[in-house]
Structures are given as structure tokens and as C-alpha cells.
């Protein structure tokens, strides 16, 4: 082990340049894989690479150690060119135990780099993972992959043997060994991680020292051990100049709300009930009381949405968030906001269902729920962000539209966007579109359901305004006066008016941006978190000379006014979705186009590889 302590003494190893790499850290939930991945992400961002991440963890808080279902992983793709997705197949897999190897090996490319922590491959762990014999002894494994058997646990203990920590505490630092080693392999700067350790463990010097030493030991091991013949450099990506930060979707939604609160000068009341994967938005907002965002952890999903509606009635911006099952419970409340014509923003961080489904896994199967999942005719505006950073703009836009049109807006994010991160060009907050909210105070000619001729929005009146006392409610009301009305013609008129109001939001939608030729053989239409995978696949097809373009919809209700025209400019239309075919049904119904779906519902993001294959299949050509 002397080589660990010895500084690198000019061991020459070849460094190869790569355009991109996909790596995954996998281990037991207690192995700190999420942290390892996040730190590697920060290092890669520092190195100037573009990147995309995919955290994947069990729903159980402390799943039994060593089991297959207790495996937690963090994947990222980083590159010197634009990176749209966390990647499909792995260039490098780090498996901290047999269960991690068993679950993730299938995703590793033939010839890929496989790094395993040998000490975890004991009888007990092998049994738990269902291995009859140690797979590391199989000659086929080393033939198929570039296998590196590293005693990470042993080397970790060796590096910190003199520190006054117990065995368990020492064990827990081994993820930093893996991080150090992989950081060396891909020439990542250690500075951000060293700074992080210092800050995070400022109150526990021994732990800080242990993590620092183990990180460096892992790095030095790569550098000096004879087993790694080469390592890699990934040049910085060409990215738009400016100040960047790493951004996850949930944080971006929260910050978009804060931006809207500040810009509109109207307080936000955020009602939420804890639910995976939406809770982080509540946690984030609760930290920012200075923005006058008041968070209510409600007794249930129904109270969360109705508290938001009560706040909107009071002249605040009412916002609620959940995931599919919770949004189902909110349906009646959303219907109330539709007929009371109050602003309301509902964030749905979609997850795999039905029912409880797979709470920590992603899906985009709540589009129909957002469009139609309420009793009677209850149209709402539906928006969907395309990337983690885009969540910021979509949340902001949702508030703007809700207030301008006095209408509920549902935002469809998903588990992949929520937890995934990307390098995000920090916007100039002063350049965000204005959110102008005026509360009616003029008594002359006031009626609660008078309408703005352009938006059809009714006046928003804050209780406390003298002379404008009025009553609203869930019962059908006469247009203009707001008086209770059971008149058949009035009801028909109100149903149409509420729908028309939502339709008029189309006047806010900018021309649809087309990635590729304006006319051609195939148009790929997507929405939400599949943006990266679709764009990567379409650009691959374009590079291969195919006549393919893509559009990605942010506005799902109403749809962009130019979409019908665009769809007719291509011979075929492909709609990839992580559901059984929801947007494709809408497009077929709305535009009478023979759109074809590409659908996989596995709780995972779509792979660009499979979309590329689907493109070729529909074009009748070989990849």
C-alpha cells in the first residue's frame, strides 16, 4: 500500500481526448452514491463541460443493505459538445457491491470501464444479490469489459487508519475513494469537492480530514497504480457565455415562483402536502420567507389546493404542488378555481403510476389528467417544462398567465426533471417579462363577472376593498352579475366562455421553434422531460442525412396556433412519450393527422437510441 502515500512520481500514462462520456455510480443506498454523483457533476461543471444527470434511488428511506431493491445510482453524461440527456449506454460503471453490479451491468457498453469494490463481494452480499458464485471470478467478465477490481474499502481504511474514527465512520468515506479515482480517470478538478468537504464538515474536523484524505487517495491510486493504462480528457463545451450554476427542476420551479412573487409584488401562498417527488419544492420555498412566500404544509392534498384558492380569493397568488395521486385529490378544488375564475397554479411532478406506482421513478402519463381529469367542462391552461432549468421559466410563466387570465394553470414536470440537473445559464432577472397585476377598486359599474374584452378575465378584487363586497362560489352564475343562475342558455354560455378564455391564452404563445427543416419526411413532436432524448435522436438522424425535424411543446393547452400548419409540412409525424400515447391522441383528434406514437412506460427517461431507431423505422430506412 506504500504507493498510496507516495506522491505521484512521474508515472506517464496516456491521456485520450473524448467528446463525451456516460458514467454511473451505483451502490447500496447507504453508500452515498447520490452525493458522489452530485460532486462529480459539480467537478464536471467546473471543467466547463455540458452535462445532464439522472439520479435513481429506491423509495425506501433505508432499504436493507446489500439487496437488489436497495441499490441507488447516479448517472451523468458530460461532454465537450451539447449534452441533451444523461446518456443511454454507459462508458463507465462503478459498482460498490454485488447488488449494484447485478442491477446495472446490463447498461454497460461492451469494452466499457467497470470498477468494482472487491471487499463488498463477500458471501453475505453475494447471497443477497442472488449470485451463486463470485461474478468477479468469471473470466467472461474481464473479457467483455475493462474490469478493475479495487479494494476500495481496504484502501480507504489504510488511508485514514490513524484517525480517531470508528470502523463504521471510516467505511462511510469510501465513496470519496471512488469519486477520487473516477475524477482522476476523467481528469476532473478536485477543488470543488475539497471545498465542499471543508464547508460541509466544518464542525467535524476528523470527518473532513478523512473524506479529504480518502478523496486524494482515490485520485492518487488512479495515477500511480499500474492497472489504469490510460485516462481521459474532455474539453470544455462551447456554451453560451455567461454565469452558470447547476440547476435541478424542483429548485428551478421554486425559484421561478420566487421570481414571480418579487416581480408581481403580490405575495404567494403555497399549499402542499408532502409527496415524492414534489416535496423539495416545499422545502426550498420554506427557506425563502424573505420573498413573502407563505408555505402551508396542509393536512391533505385537498386542503393544500383549497388553501391556495382561498389565498387567491384574498388577492395572493395561490400555488399548490403534488404528484399524480395528489393531483387526483385536488381535482374538485381545481374545478372550483375554474368556475370561481381565480388564479391558481398547480405543479404536478409526475411519477410512475397508477395509484402509488413507483414514487421515485419518472413518467409523463398525467397529460390526460391535466387536460380532462375533472368533472364536467373544466378547461385549464397546461404547460410543461423541457429541461430542469426550463422549469424556472415555466413556473414564472404559469403565474403570469394565471393572474392575467384568472384561470388555473397546471404545470407538468416529472421525476426526471425534478431531480436531474443541468448547467444553467443564469438569466438576467430584470429581463423577465413583467407580471402586471391590478386589483379592481373602482366601484362604478362593478360586477364580479364583468370581462376584459381581450382576455375574458373577470376583475380580481381584494376583500377589504370598500364598496365591492360580492359573493362568488361553485354554483353556476350568471355572466357579468355573478348571481346564482340555473338558466340553460346562461350555462351553455358560461361553459363556452370559460373554454374561450383558456383558448385565448394562445395569443401569448410565440411562434413554434422547429429544430430542423421546415418541411420534410418526418416531424418528431414531444413535450416535457423527453426534450433531451428527442433532440439528441433527431440531431443524430439529421447528421445521418435524414429529412427529420422536431418541435417540443411547452403549451399543451391551448396548443400553439401554428402547430396544425407545421404538422402538415411533413410526410410523417412521430410522438415519443413515456405513456401509452396521450399527446398523440390529442394531436390526432385536434388536427386529423396520422401521428404515430413511440411509447415506453418503464419509469425511466426515454433513451435517445430507441427514439433514433423509431425514427428510422418510421422512415423505412436502416439506421
Amino acid at each position: 500500500m506504500s504507493q498510496i502515500a507516495t506522491p505521484a512520481t512521474g508515472v506517464e500514462k496516456s491521456r485520450k481526448a473524448l467528446n463525451r462520456a456516460v458514467i454511473r455510480f451505483a451502490g447500496d443506498s447507504g453508500d452515498g452514491m447520490q452525493l458522489t454523483g452530485e460532486q462529480f457533476t459539480t467537478e464536471s461543471a467546473w471543467a466547463g463541460n455540458d452535462l445532464a444527470t439522472l439520479p435513481n434511488f429506491p423509495a425506501e428511506i433505508r432499504a436493507p443493505a446489500g439487496t437488489l431493491f436497495g441499490v441507488s445510482s447516479f448517472q451523468l453524461q458530460f461532454g465537450s459538445q451539447r449534452v441533451y440527456t444523461p446518456g443511454d449506454r454507459l462508458d463507465c460503471l462503478v459498482a460498490m457491491n454485488p447488488a449494484a453490479l447485478k442491477v446495472h451491468l446490463r447498461d454497460l457498453k461492451t469494452g466499457g470501464l467497470l470498477i468494482v469494490n472487491t471487499q463488498a463481494f463477500d458471501k453475505r452480499n453475494l447471497d443477497k444479490a442472488g449470485y451463486a458464485a463470485n461474478p468477479l471470478d468469471e473470466p467472461a467478465l474481464a473479457e467483455r469489459y475493462r474490469l478493475h477490481k479495487v479494494d476500495m474499502t481496504g484502501l480507504t481504511h489504510e488511508a485514514i487508519k490513524d484517525l480517531p474514527l470508528n470502523t463504521k465512520e471510516k467505511d462511510r468515506t469510501k465513496n470519496f475513494f471512488a469519486l477520487g479515482l473516477v475524477s482522476w480517470i476523467y481528469t476532473r478538478p478536485l477543488e470543488p469537492t475539497l471545498a465542499w468537504i471543508e464547508k460541509r464538515f466544518a464542525k467535524n474536523k476528523d470527518i473532513a480530514e478523512a473524506n479529504t484524505r480518502v478523496l486524494k487517495a482515490g485520485h492518487a491510486f488512479g495515477e500511480t497504480a499500474e492497472i489504469f493504462g490510460e485516462h481521459y480528457a474532455i474539453e470544455p463545451a462551447e456554451m453560451a457565455p455567461g454565469l452558470y450554476r447547476a440547476m435541478t427542476g424542483n429548485r428551478a420551479l421554486a425559484w421561478g415562483i420566487l421570481a414571480a412573487a418579487q416581480r408581481s409584488k403580490v405575495p404567494v401562498v403555497y399549499g402542499a402536502y408532502p409527496i415524492t417527488p414534489a416535496s423539495d419544492i416545499l422545502h426550498e420555498l420554506a427557506m425563502h420567507k424573505r420573498f413573502r412566500v407563505r408555505t402551508i404544509q396542509a393536512e391533505d392534498e385537498i386542503a393544500a389546493v383549497t388553501a391556495a384558492i382561498g389565498a387567491s380569493f384574498g388577492g395572493a397568488i395561490g400555488i399548490t404542488a403534488s404528484s399524480g395521486p395528489g393531483v387526483a385529490l385536488k381535482s374538485e378544488g381545481i374545478g372550483l378555481a375554474v368556475t370561481a375564475e381565480l388564479p391558481l397554479v398547480v405543479l404536478n411532478i409526475q411519477r410512475a403510476g397508477p395509484s402509488t406506482g413507483m414514487p421515485t421513478k419518472t413518467e409523463q402519463a398525467d397529460l390526460m389528467q391535466a387536460l380532462y381529469g375533472r368533472n364536467s367542462e373544466a378547461p385549464v391552461v397546461v404547460l410543461a417544462p423541457a429541461t430542469p432549468g426550463d422549469c424556472f421559466y415555466v413556473a414564472y410563466e404559469a403565474v403570469r398567465l394565471a393572474a392575467k387570465y384568472m384561470v388555473p394553470v397546471i404545470v407538468l414536470s416529472d421525476g426526471f426533471l425534478a431531480n436531474g440537473s443541468e448547467p444553467w445559464l443564469i438569466p438576467d432577472a430584470t429581463k423577465l417579462p413583467p407580471i402586471e397585476i391590478t386589483f379592481r377598486t373602482e366601484q362604478e359599474g362593478f360586477f364580479p363577472y364583468l370581462r376584459d374584452p381581450a382576455t375574458l378575465a373577470r376583475p380580481w378584487v381584494r376583500p377589504g376593498t370598500p364598496g365591492l363586497e360580492h359573493r362568488i362560489g361553485g354554483i353556476e352564475k350568471q355572466d357579468v352579475t355573478g348571481n346564482i343562475s340555473y338558466d340553460p342558455e346562461n350555462h351553455d354560455h358560461m361553459v363556452r366562455t370559460r373554454a374561450e378564455k383558456v383558448r385565448r391564452v394562445a395569443q401569448e404563445i410565440p411562434p413554434t421553434s422547429i429544430n430542423g427543416p421546415a418541411t420534410g419526411d418526418l416531424l418528431v413532436v414531444g413535450w416535457g422531460g423527453t426534450y433531451g432524448a428527442i433532440t439528441a435522436a433527431v440531431e443524430q438522424a439529421q447528421t445521418a442525412g435524414k429529412s427529420v425535424a422536431s418541435v417540443h411543446l411547452r403549451h399543451l393547452n391551448p396548443l400553439p396556433p401554428d402547430l396544425g400548419h407545421i404538422l402538415r409540412e411533413y410526410r410523417k409525424v412521430l410522438v415519443p412519450e413515456i405513456n401509452s400515447g396521450q399527446l398523440v391522441r390529442v394531436l390526432r383528434a385536434e388536427y386529423l393527422v396520422d401521428a404515430v406514437g413511440f411509447n415506453r412506460v418503464r419509469g425511466l427517461p426515454l433513451a435517445s437510441e430507441e427514439i433514433y431507431e423509431a425514427i428510422n423505422q418510421l422512415l423505412g430506412s436502416k439506421p
Binding site: 454565469l243 424573505r290 413573502r292 382561498g310 384574498g314 443564469i426 376593498t465 359573493r471 362560489g473
Partner: protein
């Protein structure tokens, strides 16, 4: 903003008429709700609150039509959710005076969960629960306060579930103000409404109300003149618990840990149970008592001080702002780990 309570502005001199809306009242003729509406409209001028600062929130049911008839701000919402709507409104606008009007079905069945949480949070608002022990608007099914064995359309051979006691429920939830009044006793209703409205925190008032169509005289035990004399126990802070005819007063006393009714003249004055609104444990005992074995307590069972939900929330907000200044999105966006690409 003045947390916890309206009244910062001076209210004009109002009359009952100022609180009557232009809507036709659509309850059944003879419904107890008319008396309650009249009492509330009559009480409003005495609260000294500008009427634009008053909001009535309701759910669904006969009682929930209430906001339409009040010339204040009003929101007739969805079944059972009024406490949650009111909580959101209160958090957004703590300077408003909010009343929640609900019934036994709306407040204790479909909305039971929200009722629990609004009471334990002690949100500053007044809840008026009209208890007629029946579902009226849906035409006569038994309610969560109907007596066991209640024969209705949905229970032709009698209901199988035991009733919930609204007062005991409220106290069990940690309510800080709990009172009971009766729709046929206008002066008492008036007094209870004023007390509840002035309470800092959630004021909960059960109003025994008559549904003359589906459950007529359900509260006859306290309507009938003779029965009322026998059973009504008027709770007065600092006064002993005495009831019954003047010539044959009864006393409610504690024997060990059990309430007991005795002839007043048979016990020494020192053993009488003196009503104390600050004693929540005593209130819990009182809440469970009812005729025929016991008297029917009417009045304020408990009125105690406790922290108010939105006051705490606003204090946290003001503290954050006074310590670190108002939020600035531009600063937040560039905080923490960032890097420049040129």
C-alpha cells in the same frame, strides 16, 4: 397589516340592513337558518368592523348558502373545505375578519379532517356550525351527529353508527374557544357570536338548529318550554353549575372523577362546580353531558389563549426580512456555486 384581527380602520355606524344582501333567501319556510341569519346580521354592526373587511366562507349544504345572503365579501366553496379555504385566505390576508359557516355534515363528515386541523392550528377565524343532525340539501339522510338508530331514507331500519359530539370533537382537537347556542334563543346567539368573533384564535360555536322538513324538533328537549327549564344549563364564568326550576335547583358536581347531578340544597356551597372557561379539562367533561341524565350545557365551555397559526408564520416572515432584508431574486440566482463561461 395588523396580524390577528380586523378593526384597524374605524367602522361606520351600521344597522342590520347594511348586512342584508340583495339575494332572495332560499331556505325552506320555517327553517332555523332564518333566525341565525337574522341574528348574525343584527350582531354585525356591534363588531365595529368595516363590512368590506368581513368575509363569510362556506362549504356545501343548506347552511353553506349563508354567504350569499350577507352583504359582505363571501365565497361559497366546495363540500367540507371551507376551513382550508379560510386558512389560506387568513394566511394571505391576516387583517380580514373571517367567518366560516358550516353544518354537521359539511363540517364533521366530509370536512372533518379540515375541521380538526383548523382547530389545532388555532387560525384566527370564527366557525359557526349549524347542527340539525340531518342532511337537508340532499333530502334527509342521517348525518354524523344523528343519534344511533336514526331512521332515514338511507337507513330505513336505523343507522348503525354512533354520533360525534361537535363540542367534544372541537375540544379534542385543541380548540381554544368552544361554545354552544340555540337557534331559538336570539339574545344568547347574539352574545355567543360576539364572544366568538372577538376571540383571538379559532372561535367554534355549535348552533343547535331546527330542520323543520327532515328532522323537525330534533332539539325539542331544549325548545320545549318545560323541558328547557329542566335541562338547560347556562354556563357563566365564575358561577356554579346550577340549573332546573327556581324552586328546585339542581347542581352539577364532581364525585371523584365523575360528574353527578344533585339537588342544590342538599350539598354545601363549597362543593359546587364553579364554571371556569380557562379550564379545558373541565370543559371536556361538560362537553359530553346531555339530557336526559344530565343537563345540556349552553354557553362558553372554554376560552383560552394559545399561539395563533398565521401570527407565528408572519412573525417568522418579518423576522427574516428584518434580519436579512427583502428577498432579491437576482442575488439568489447568483448565490452559491456558480462559474463563468466566456
Amino acid at each position: 397589516m395588523t396580524p390577528s384581527g380586523a378593526g384597524a380602520k374605524e367602522a361606520p355606524k351600521y344597522t342590520k340592513k347594511d348586512f342584508e344582501s340583495d339575494q332572495d333567501v332560499r331556505w325552506c319556510p320555517g327553517c332555523g337558518d332564518y333566525a341565525i341569519l337574522s341574528a348574525i346580521q343584527k350582531t354585525m354592526p356591534d363588531l365595529g368592523i368595516p363590512k368590506e373587511d368581513i368575509v363569510f366562507i362556506s362549504g356545501i349544504g343548506c347552511s353553506s348558502r349563508f354567504p350569499y345572503y350577507m352583504n359582505t365579501y363571501g365565497f361559497h366553496t366546495i363540500h367540507g373545505r371551507a376551513p382550508a379555504i379560510a386558512t389560506g385566505l387568513r394566511v394571505a390576508r391576516p387583517e380580514l375578519k373571517i367567518f366560516v359557516v358550516t353544518g354537521d355534515g359539511d363540517g364533521l363528515s366530509i370536512g372533518g379532517n379540515h375541521m380538526l386541523h383548523v382547530l389545532r392550528r388555532n387560525v384566527n377565524l370564527t366557525i359557526l356550525l349549524f347542527n340539525n343532525r340531518i342532511y337537508g340539501l340532499t333530502k334527509g339522510q342521517y348525518s354524523p351527529t344523528s343519534e344511533l338508530g336514526k331512521v332515514t331514507k338511507s337507513t330505513p331500519v336505523g343507522s348503525a353508527d354512533r354520533p360525534v359530539n361537535p363540542l367534544a370533537f372541537a375540544l379534542g382537537c385543541g380548540a381554544t374557544f368552544v361554545a354552544r347556542t340555540v337557534d331559538r334563543n336570539i339574545p344568547h346567539m347574539d352574545e355567543m357570536l360576539k364572544r366568538a368573533a372577538k376571540h383571538k384564535g379559532t372561535g367554534f360555536v355549535e348552533i343547535l338548529q331546527n330542520c323543520n322538513v327532515y328532522n323537525d324538533l330534533a332539539w325539542n328537549v331544549i325548545y320545549d318550554r318545560e323541558s328547557k327549564v329542566q335541562h338547560e344549563l347556562r354556563l357563566e364564568h365564575g358561577k356554579p353549575l346550577l340549573f332546573g326550576p327556581q324552586d328546585d335547583r339542581r347542581a352539577l358536581i364532581m364525585e371523584g372523577v365523575t360528574p353527578k347531578v344533585v339537588r342544590a340544597k342538599d350539598v354545601p356551597e363549597s362543593t359546587l362546580w364553579v364554571h371556569d372557561e380557562k379550564n379545558v379539562n373541565a370543559a371536556k367533561l361538560l362537553a359530553d353531558l346531555f339530557a336526559p341524565e344530565f343537563p345540556i350545557p349552553v354557553g362558553v365551555l372554554a376560552a383560552v389563549d394559545a399561539p395563533v397559526y398565521e401570527d407565528i408564520m408572519l412573525e417568522q416572515e418579518e423576522k427574516a426580512i428584518s434580519e436579512r432584508g427583502p428577498g432579491d431574486i437576482a442575488k439568489l440566482l447568483t448565490s452559491g456555486d456558480t462559474w463563468k463561461i466566456s
